[in-house]
C-alpha cells in the first residue's frame, strides 16, 4: 500500500476546491461564539499577527529548537523574535525591530515546535521585512551584499550564459579574497558549479511538454492504467536544479513519467526563500507574483505543482499565503507538494521500491540529513522510510541537527563560523554513519554537507530513478 490512501480516481479528489474549512484550528480563540474580541491595536500591522501573539503561553519549546540560540550568545531566540517583539511594538511607538532579527537563519524549525500553533516564522519574516525596509541603511555594504545573495537567481542566470568561465572565475582565489574584504562574502566556501546545460535547456531538447505527454501516455499503457488518465504535474524546479544540479530535475522527470505523469515546466522565478531570509520582501513578492500567476493557471487546469527542493515547496505552500495577498495564492499553496511526498501520496512507491534493486554508484550506504524546511512540512522521515526497504541500499538518518548553512546565511563572512558551529553536530554524525555518500532534499544543505565532510551528496529523486526507472 502507499503511505496515504490513493484518491478514489486519478484526479486527486482528496483535495479541496473551496471545500469545508478544517474543523480543528488551534489558533482560533476558544472563548465561544458569543465572544467578540476587542480591537486593542487598531492599526497595528499589515499582517494580523495578534492571534499568534495571543496564543503564545511562553512554554519556550520554540527556543529549544533554535539552532542559532544553541551556539550564539547574542541571539535572543524565536520566542523573543516572534510574539514578544510583536507585543513590545504594539505598546511602544519608539520601539523598532531589534537588529538581532537578522541573525535568525529562517530555518523555521520553531513553527513545528509550537504546541499552540503560533505562526513564528511568519512573525519573523514580517519583523525582518520591516527591519530591512525601515531601519537598514540602503547604502550599506551589508544591504547590497544581502540583496545580491538573496537574488541568487539573477547571478546564476548570468553565470549560466558562460558556465565554464563562471566556474573558474567564481572560485578564483584573489577574486574571492576581494569579495570577502569588500562585500563580506566568505572566501571559505566553494561556489556551486554551474551546469553547462541548464535543466530548461535539456527539457526543451527532450521535446518539452509535448514530449512528456507522449512518454507519460506510453507509460500509462505499459502500466495497464487508463491511457487517458488525468495525471498532470507542473514542475517547480527552482534555481538550483535549473542552473546547478539539473541531474535532480532530469531524475524527477524520468521518475514521474515512469509513473505515467505528464509534466509541464512553467515560467518561474526564484521561490523567494533567500529573499525572505534577508528581509527583502518586495523582491520576494515580485518573484512570487510570477510564480503564482503561472502556477494558478495550471492548477485551474487540473495540475498539481511539485518541487524537488524542500525550501521551494515550503515557500509556495506556506510563506506565500502567510505573507502575500495575490490572486490564486491559496489554491496554489494547497496544490503544491514536494516531489517525493507527492508520489508517496498518489502512487504505490513502497511496493515499487520493495521490488526494485540498484546497481552502480548508488548501490551504497547513505548518510541522510533532513533539511529544516522538510521538517515543517512533515517530510523529515520520507527518504528514510522509503529507502530502508530498498535492496542494495542502506540509509541512516544523521539526526535532527540543522546543517547550519540556511541558504545565504552561511555565505556571509560574519556568519560563517556560526554556520559551521551549527553544522558541527551534523558533520560528526555523518562521519560516524556507515555511508560515505550523503543524501538530502535541499541543495544548500547539500553544499554544507559536502563542505563539512567532502562527501558526494545525492537527492532522493536520483536514487528513486536508479531504483525504478528502466
Amino acid at each position: 500500500m502507499s503511505d496515504a490512501e490513493s484518491p478514489v480516481d486519478d484526479t486527486a479528489d482528496h483535495d479541496i476546491d473551496g471545500g469545508d474549512e478544517p474543523t480543528f484550528d488551534p489558533n482560533e480563540p476558544n472563548t465561544g461564539e458569543e465572544f467578540e474580541a476587542v480591537d486593542v491595536f487598531p492599526d497595528s500591522d499589515d499582517f494580523d499577527l495578534r492571534p499568534g501573539a495571543d496564543s503564545c503561553y511562553k512554554c519556550s519549546t520554540c527556543d529549544t529548537n533554535c539552532p542559532v540560540a544553541e551556539v550564539d550568545d547574542d541571539f535572543p531566540g524565536p520566542k523573543f523574535q516572534g510574539p514578544e517583539q510583536w507585543r513590545l511594538k504594539q505598546t511602544d511607538d519608539d520601539y523598532g525591530v531589534d537588529d538581532s532579527v537578522m541573525d535568525c537563519s529562517n530555518c523555521m524549525r520553531c513553527d513545528n515546535a509550537c504546541p499552540s500553533g503560533v505562526p513564528l516564522s511568519q512573525m519573523h519574516n514580517a519583523a525582518r521585512g520591516e527591519y530591512v525596509s525601515e531601519e537598514m541603511d540602503k547604502l550599506s555594504v551589508e544591504y547590497w551584499r544581502n540583496r545580491i545573495l538573496a537574488n541568487y537567481r539573477t547571478s546564476a542566470w548570468f553565470a549560466s550564459k558562460v558556465p565554464r568561465l563562471a566556474n573558474v572565475a567564481m572560485n578564483f582565489g584573489p577574486a574571492r579574497w576581494l569579495m570577502e574584504k569588500t562585500m563580506g562574502v566568505t572566501a571559505e566556501r566553494e561556489f556551486p558549479t554551474f551546469a553547462t546545460e541548464t535543466f530548461r535547456e535539456w527539457w526543451a531538447s527532450e521535446g518539452g511538454a509535448d514530449g512528456s505527454r507522449e512518454r507519460a501516455r506510453a507509460a500509462r499503457e505499459r502500466r495497464g492504467e487508463d491511457p487517458d488518465a488525468d495525471k498532470k504535474v507542473a514542475y517547480f524546479h527552482g534555481c538550483y536544479s535549473n542552473y546547478n544540479s539539473p541531474e535532480v530535475g532530469k531524475a524527477l522527470v524520468r521518475v514521474y513519467e515512469h509513473f505515467g505523469y505528464e509534466l509541464v515546466v512553467p515560467e518561474q522565478k526564484c521561490s523567494g526563500t533567500p529573499m525572505f531570509a534577508n528581509g527583502m520582501l518586495a523582491d520576494a513578492r515580485r518573484h512570487a507574483e510570477v510564480n503564482v500567476s503561472s502556477m494558478s493557471d495550471l492548477v485551474d487546469q487540473g495540475y498539481d505543482a511539485v518541487a524537488s527542493c524542500t525550501s521551494c515547496s515550503m515557500a509556495l505552500r506556506q510563506e506565500y499565503p502567510e505573507l502575500f495577498d495575490i490572486d490564486g495564492i491559496d489554491e496554489v499553496a494547497s496544490h503544491t507538494f514536494e516531489s517525493v511526498e507527492y508520489l508517496r501520496i498518489h502512487e504505490d512507491v513502497r511496493d515499487a521500491i520493495a521490488e526494485a534493486d540498484v546497481d552502480g554508484d548508488l548501490a551504497t550506504e547513505f548518510a541522510y540529513h533532513a533539511p529544516c524546511h522538510a521538517r515543517n512540512q512533515g517530510l523529515d522521515r520520507q527518504a528514510v522510510e522509503l529507502f530502508r526497504d530498498l535492496e542494495d541500499v542502506g540509509i541512516e538518518d544523521v539526526g535532527e541537527s540543522c546543517s547550519g548553512i540556511s541558504g545565504t546565511y552561511g555565505w556571509k563572512a560574519e556568519k560563517y563560523e556560526k554556520s559551521m558551529a551549527i553544522g558541527e553536530e551534523m558533520f560528526e554524525h555523518m562521519e560516524s554513519a556507515e555511508g560515505q555518500t550523503g543524501m538530502t532534499e535541499c541543495p544548500t544543505c547539500a553544499s554544507q554537507m559536502e563542505h563539512g565532510t567532502g562527501y558526494e551528496i545525492r537527492h532522493p529523486m536520483e536514487l528513486l530513478e536508479a531504483a525504478i526507472v528502466e
Binding site: 478544517p22 488551534p26 476558544n30 529549544t64 513545528n112 504546541p115 505552500r317 523529515d380
Partner: protein, 416 residues
C-alpha cells in the same frame, strides 16, 4: 496512531512490535519536551492520600471509571516492562515501590521511574547534598529549593548556592545553550582566559563544596551526551552529580522523546509530525482520516485507529464557554451544562475539569452519551481519557503508558 506524546508513542511501539503496519501522525513535535522526564504510575490515591508506597497495591481500589481499572493492574506492569526496555537510561524498575525525587520547587515527588541522571539525587539517600543554581536561571533557585527540602524533612543536610555560569551567556540563555557548551566542552571566557566549560564550571563550584558527597544541578547537563557531562563533572568535583528535573522546556523530556522515537523507528513504524488530523469519514466505523497540509487534505486509511491527542493542555480535549469537546472525532465528553460546575472554588480543590475526557468501554473504545461505542475501530489512550486527575494523583505518565500499550496491542490484534 494520532498523537506523538507518551501514549501515542507507547501505543505505536507496542502495535509495531506486535506485527502491525503502523503510522503515527502528530500535529506538532511531541509534548514530551514539556514533561519533567519523571515517569510516575501513581503517587497519591484519590482524595489526596499518600504518598503511595506501592502503586500496584492501590490500583485495584481506584474508582471504576479510572483508566487503570479499565486496563487492569497486570497491563500496567506489562506496559512498564515495555517502557523499561525502550528507555534504557531509566532507573527504578528493580522495585514496585515508588522512589522519592526532589523537584525544582523543593518538594519531594513519588515516582515509579526516573532518568539515570537523577539517581544520585534520591531523597531517600542520606548523603548530604549541595544544590547549585545559576544566576539568571530563575526556574531553579538553589537556596530556596534547599530550604524547602529541609522543611520537607529530608534525611540529609542540603545547602543551596547560586553561581554565575562560566562564560558571557546572555541573561535569558536557552537550556540548549548550556547543554551544548557542556556537551562539546567548548571554551568559555573566564576573566579574559578561555577555559573548557566543564572545567570552568567545576572550578566555580569547588570552593563552595564542603564535604557533600553529591551535587545537584538544574537539568541542563548535556543533550547529546548527558552521562559524559555528569561523569566529567563528578570527576572534577569528587562527588556524585545529579540533575533535578525542571519545568518546560525540559531536557530530560527531550531525551525521553528521542529514546522513544528511536524505539519506534527500530520497530519499523512510520511517523510524521507537523500536520494535524482535521477530519474523518465514517459513521459506526472510521473509514479514513484527513491530514491537513497547507489547505490540502490528505486521506489516510487504516483498519484501526488510536486517539492519543492529549488532554486540555495538549488540545485533545477542548472547551469554550458553552461546552467541552474532543475535536478530532467529536467523541462525547461528559460535563455539566453549567460551566460554574466545572471547577471548585478552592484553587487546589477537587476540580471536575481535571477529570474531563472521553469515557470508554473495557477495550478503551470511546462511548457516546448513551453508553454505546462511538466507532468500532477507534481506541483512546492517555490524557484524552476522562475519569482521573493526573496532576493530583501523579499518574499522568503511567496512565499514558498503560492505556497506550493496551490500545496499541488491541488495535494490532484486530488489524493483523
Amino acid at each position: 496512531m494520532i498523537g506523538g506524546g507518551l501514549a501515542g508513542l507507547t501505543s505505536a511501539i507496542g502495535a509495531a512490535r506486535a506485527g502491525a503496519d503502523v503510522r503515527l501522525v502528530s500535529y506538532k513535535q511531541s509534548t514530551l519536551r514539556n514533561a519533567s522526564g519523571l515517569v510516575d504510575v501513581l503517587g497519591y490515591a484519590p482524595g489526596g492520600d499518600g504518598p503511595v508506597v506501592d502503586p500496584y497495591e492501590v490500583i485495584p481500589d481506584l474508582p471504576d471509571e479510572h483508566p487503570y481499572r479499565t486496563v487492569g493492574v497486570q497491563r500496567v506492569r506489562d506496559a512498564m516492562a515495555l517502557f523499561d526496555e525502550v528507555a534504557p537510561d531509566y532507573r527504578g524498575s528493580h522495585t514496585d515501590a515508588n522512589a522519592l525525587l526532589p523537584t525544582h520547587g523543593g518538594t519531594v515527588k513519588p515516582t515509579a521511574r526516573y532518568p539515570a541522571g537523577a539517581r544520585a539525587g534520591l531523597a531517600s539517600d542520606d548523603r548530604d547534598v549541595l544544590l547549585v543554581g545559576f544566576e539568571s536561571m530563575v526556574d531553579f533557585d538553589a537556596p530556596h529549593v534547599a530550604a524547602h527540602l529541609e522543611a520537607a524533612g529530608v534525611p540529609f543536610d542540603v545547602r543551596g548556592v547560586t553561581v554565575p555560569f562560566p562564560g558571557d551567556l546572555r541573561a535569558d540563555a536557552k537550556i540548549t545553550r548550556f547543554a551544548k557548551l557542556l556537551d562539546t566542552n567548548a571554551d568559555v571566557s573566564v576573566r579574559g582566559r578561555d577555559r573548557p566549560a566543564r572545567d570552568a564550571l567545576a572550578e566555580r563550584i569547588n570552593p563552595e563544596l564542603d564535604d557533600q558527597q553529591r551535587v545537584g544541578f538544574p537539568a541542563i547537563l548535556g543533550d547529546d551526551d548527558p552521562a559524559g557531562v555528569r561523569a566529567a563533572l563528578a570527576d572534577r568535583l569528587g562527588a556524585e552529580v545529579f540533575e533535578v528535573p525542571m519545568g518546560p522546556p525540559s531536557l530530560p523530556g527531550l531525551r525521553l522523546e528521542d529514546a522513544l522515537f528511536e524505539a519506534l523507528d527500530e520497530a519499523g513504524a512510520r511517523f510524521e509530525t507537523g500536520n494535524p488530523v482535521v477530519e474523518f469519514d465514517g459513521d459506526d466505523r472510521i473509514e479514513r482520516v484527513y491530514v491537513e497540509k497547507n489547505g490540502a487534505k490528505i486521506p489516510q486509511r487504516a483498519e484501526q485507529y488510536v486517539l492519543a491527542t492529549g488532554g486540555l493542555v495538549g488540545k485533545g480535549v477542548e472547551s469554550d464557554r458553552e461546552s467541552v469537546s474532543e475535536p478530532v472525532f467529536d467523541c462525547h465528553v461528559a460535563h455539566a451544562d453549567d460551566r460554574y460546575e466545572w471547577f471548585d472554588t478552592d484553587a487546589f480543590g477537587d476540580h471536575p475539569f481535571a477529570r474531563f475526557g472521553v469515557e470508554t468501554d473495557h477495550e478503551l473504545r470511546p462511548l457516546d452519551d448513551g453508553g454505546s461505542v462511538e466507532f468500532e475501530n477507534l481506541r483512546a489512550a492517555g490524557s484524552v481519557l476522562g475519569g482521573y486527575d493526573f496532576a493530583a494523583e501523579k499518574s499522568g505518565s503511567g496512565v499514558s503508558i498503560a492505556t497506550g500499550h493496551a490500545a496499541g496491542e488491541a488495535a494490532a490484534e484486530v488489524a493483523r
